[in-house]
């Protein structure tokens, strides 16, 4: 089940253009060497891919969301509702 889901998710991420940022490996608690190898390889790989491109999008969106919160909607009839959601 795990391998099905992860393989699918890897493909899904590559549709969006985030290829190679998800890995799956089975490592037993007795395989310390393998664990080190896998983690080192993956860290190197992620480093070479660079920072997550989604962060640039989320920064602009956070700014937009903050702007939305600052805007004055008083008296539009939804005040109470918004406060209870926040």
């Amino acid at each position: 089940m795990t391998v099905k889901r992860i393989t699918f998710l890897q493909e899904l991420l590559s549709i969006l253009g985030l290829e190679g940022r998800l890995g799956l490996s089975w490592i037993s608690s007795a395989e310390a060497q393998k664990f080190v190898q896998v983690v080192t390889d993956f860290t190197e790989k992620i480093r070479s891919l660079g920072p997550n491109p989604l962060s640039t999008f989320s920064d602009t969106r956070k700014a937009a969301a903050a702007e939305l919160m600052r805007m004055d909607f008083k008296g539009d009839g939804y005040d109470q509702q918004r406060q209870s959601m926040a």
Partner: protein, 273 residues
């Protein structure tokens, strides 16, 4: 057709019939019953469509033994197969009345509101994705461009939940898109692309490509394209064609032994600029 429905209702083969009734010149979904059998005369066919099987699922959830009859287009039929598979409806309690629908090799003429999709504007084509583009064209964009184009589309989302609410194969009682610790209701702007990825994951092996989500979307996000691509993955990986049969789903927990191997973590490659 009308006589057929009347006979079914009178025989007690079905308790209710789901179809469309013309109300003020609009064909609206309507539930026909034996008590008000004269209404069946107003049963209409039209290019308009709705996820009638979703109404059926809600009814069966309250009254499991109710016998339901319904008009089925090809997409309704596929949705029913998925709902049978996930135990949301009992095939013994559902009677279908097929109507002319998608054009095919056997019949050129089709009746569906989706046959003439909306044309997309130039700006959307330039920075986003054309809703009517083929799946192959989608893959022709580079990695970075693809992300930018998808994010342009996703960022328009106003989190109206229209895509989920109309979806005939969305039936969970608790939705992860309304969960305090996953995707909260209320706060705008919605978290993207998480919101759409959650839906995309749930649509894998489930989406029957009816296109109602895209028709419902007020922001013209190419959802049908996304779920179509997701189902293409399911086809490539597991050879499973969604909705064509009630054969076991690859994402069902019960089932065959898995022969897939985890992908090796390939050494770092140079990323496309």
């Amino acid at each position: 057709m009308i006589n057929n429905v009347k006979a079914w209702l009178e025989d007690g083969k079905i308790d209710i019939f789901l179809g469309y009734k013309e109300t003020d010149h609009h064909p609206l979904p309507h539930c026909f019953t034996k008590e008000r059998i004269e209404e069946v005369d107003d049963l209409v066919l039209s290019p308009a469509r709705y996820s009638l099987e979703k109404i059926a699922t809600h009814m069966a959830a309250v009254e499991p033994d109710i016998k339901i009859g319904m008009l089925t287009r090809d997409c309704n039929d596929r949705a029913l197969n998925v709902l049978y598979l996930w135990n949301q409806l009992n095939p013994d309690n559902v009677s279908t009345l097929p109507v002319n629908c998608c054009p095919s090799k056997l019949k050129e003429h089709g009746d569906c509101s989706y046959l003439e999709p909306e044309r997309m504007g130039a700006f959307k084509k330039q920075v986003g994705l054309d809703n009517n583009m083929g799946l192959e064209d989608l893959d022709s964009y580079g990695q970075k461009e693809r992300l930018e184009r998808w994010m342009y589309e996703f960022q328009k989302c106003i989190k109206c939940y229209g895509c989920r609410n109309i979806c005939p194969v969305c039936f969970c009682k608790e939705c992860s898109l309304e969960h305090d610790e996953l995707v909260k209701t209320g706060p705008l702007l919605p978290e993207v692309p998480i919101f759409h990825m959650v839906r995309a994951v749930h649509m894998a092996g489930r989406c029957i490509d009816c296109g109602l989500c895209e028709a419902a979307c007020p922001m013209d996000i190419p959802l049908r394209l996304l779920y179509g691509r997701v189902n293409q993955i399911v086809m490539d990986l597991f050879g499973y064609e969604t909705g064509s049969s009630t054969a076991n789903n690859p994402f069902s927990i019960l089932g065959d032994t898995v022969t897939l191997e985890p992908k090796p973590i390939e050494p770092a490659q140079t990323v496309n600029p």
